[in-house]
Symmetry: C2
Subunit: 403 residues, 2 copies
């Protein structure tokens, strides 16, 4: 196996990451790989309860892709073991237990979506129930003996919850250890994760050491903010751009981000070359509108190719720029079965307070869809076929309906 020179690998691998713990061990492992011709094993843990990937996930996946490009091996670990347990405390209904079939299906979905970024023929996908499901109580006791309560309570979220007096189930202390065991099982050389995973990544390092393995290098990546510019991108906050969303939706959502995020998205979510970044930083602050279109084009091309990115760009020029519709229009994805009644859609999307009010506005001619006035209050729409489209109510209220 041929690997690029270590310094070249390091230069690219370092770009955009938050921390490499410790960097000298990464260098040593890369040197070893070059010397022996044996690729490194790079681990990523995936949550099978949320198989829909968005640009936030893509930050880590794109770093994994770099490792692939340099000849290393990627192992995606689907955390089906914990997924199948659900909420062990029984206190919350937020985490229903998944069946074996569901976790496999979600794992498959994850793999297919991740294949938009990774080289699919060079991904190894494994389910951790395979080994965690075989651990006995005795094994668990030994694993649990490898760390302490004080150490565990150092983890940011545990520390906060403990300080606030919020309940932390004892089983929650077992999950980081389970993830650490995953590193032992696949003999991970490197593990990647968001900065919020740092503690778990280090736990893997520590448990590997305690069983006599060469410990993994931990690489953390920044957490991408969502469309609101405030919270972390997440499906449950509905501030996300899914990597399987249509080119128009993706393009339109990127146009809706606050100006302060433009450069960050260039850095973490686009495939612009490292040497282009200074110029893009300048553009983002001096001409945010142009920068945003460049960003939208760049990211859309990444997931849909140049042709569709161009078409999306033209669509927005047509509907948004020429007709002077404001750029920062909220997107709304109605959870309704097709076909959807127009009045109902107006109400659930928040444009009108009630179906009665919606009917009056439609009948007064105050409602248009993609610039076409609609006056039939019995109109039904097929969202899966016709979204994205723009609904306007009165002079100033807009919502982009997406699917």
């Amino acid at each position: 196996m041929y690997f690029p020179p270590v310094e070249e690998q390091i230069l690219h691998l370092k770009s955009g990451v938050q921390e490499i713990i410790p960097e000298e061990e990464l260098r040593a492992k890369l040197e070893q790989a070059v010397k022996t011709g044996k690729p490194l094993t790079v681990k990523l843990g995936c949550d099978p309860s949320r198989p829909d990937l968005h640009l936030g996930h893509a930050v880590v996946l794109r770093k994994l892709r770099q490792f692939q490009d340099f000849g290393h091996e990627i192992v995606l670990i689907v955390g089906d073991f914990t997924g199948m347990i659900g909420d062990a405390s029984g206190r919350s209904k937020m985490r229903p237990a998944l069946s074996l079939e569901e976790t496999r299906r979600n794992g498959e979905t994850y793999f297919q979506q991740a294949s938009k970024i990774l080289l699919p023929e060079r991904i190894k996908i494994v389910y951790n129930s395979q080994w965690l499901g075989k651990l006995s109580f005795e094994d668990v006791v030994r694993l649990a003996g490898k760390t302490t309560v004080a150490r565990m309570l150092e983890r940011d979220d545990f520390a906060g919850r403990y300080a606030r007096g919020d309940a932390i189930g004892i089983h929650e202390f077992l999950y980081p250890l389970a993830q650490a065991q995953d590193s032992v099982e696949i003999k991970a050389d490197i593990e990647l994760g968001g900065t919020d995973q740092k503690f778990n990544l280090l736990m893997g390092r520590s448990v590997q050491k305690s069983v006599g393995q060469v410990p993994q290098v931990c690489i953390t990546l920044p957490i991408l903010e969502g469309l609101d510019g405030a919270e972390k991108m997440s499906k449950s906050l509905d501030n996300y751009i899914g990597i399987t969303e249509s080119s128009e939706t993706m393009y339109g959502k990127i146009l809706s981000i606050p100006d302060t995020l433009i450069y960050r998205y260039f850095e973490l979510a686009s495939d612009e070359m490292v040497n282009e970044l200074p110029a893009l930083k300048k553009l983002s602050s001096e001409a945010p509108r142009d920068a945003k279109h460049r960003l939208a084009f760049s990211i859309t091309r990444l997931y849909h190719g140049a042709k569709q990115a161009r078409e999306a760009s033209e669509y927005f020029e047509r509907t948004v720029i020429r007709k002077e519709i404001p750029e920062n229009i909220p997107s709304f994805r109605p959870e309704l079965e097709d076909p959807v009644g127009l009045l109902n859609l107006l109400t659930v999307s928040g444009l009108t307070p009630s179906n009665g009010a919606a009917r009056r506005l439609v009948e007064q001619g105050a409602v248009s869809i993609d610039g076409q006035k609609v006056t039939d209050s019995r109109l039904t729409l097929d969202i899966s076929a016709s979204a994205p489209f723009l609904i306007k109510v009165g002079k100033r209220r807009f919502v982009r309906i997406v699917r």
Copy 2:
């Protein structure tokens, strides 16, 4: 099955206990037993790493015996599961892992010793590895989900160690849950333990509730102080009276307790009747020397019968009282292979600083055994055959050698 009236049972069962949690449930369970003729299941957990029972253990065992006398069923749970794991953190060599054979052998020893107090034909003895060994990681996660970190850190010893910054291994949080699972498995109606076990007993109650069982009543008993009158009786502190020790050793050790302990031993370690206690309290404070002999006789009779208790009493009258040897002579059990050289024995028992000093003292005629002067420094002794005996060095230094 016939049971004595509930009020009579309660009267005796309450005597000498620290807490009954909650008492009204104990009453209800006893009433249920009388009504249905079905005996209660009374649980005691035993530590198989310390199979040598002493009067401290006997406090709880004697309460169990009362339950047997009232017709209830005793289940001794040998905690071989945790015993076989040893120290999971690997930090300490204090808790070597026991093999299956060792735990079985220790369990057997425990049973035989406990049979000096309990009715052996009505003891059920079970090993918790039987069910705990079958738990999967998933089962452990579910069990661990039944309690919280904050709750666990309320346990006295955890609270103290956490406050002092001493390490608490995560696996230590699993042991109280394992004991709680024991209660679930045998469907315990009542669990007994020392006051230091209160937390674990309550954990059993709580886990039983969470799986829909009628929760056990927890009965705690005071912790008996050892011969020093300060620390809890324990083999490792060498301040104990083993229930299998010879009648002379037992009698002699009881004579060596401080006066402040006399009444407490009457209350917790003898079988004096409840209605005798007030008189014994008076005797203990007014004539401690007489009280101590009565106590020594009473406890020795309990484990060795009246005849041997009388012989022990005569032995002490002969060697101690008539020859005006002080009563509070320290006992020493040398860990030496027979035969033991006299000089060596003098040094290891702390009577002389070195074998050289011992030789000089023997040759000077300053050493006697049971009142007989010894002058041959090459003398060897067979302790297993001849102990207990009294060594005197000079005018004031005494040690009682016991086996």
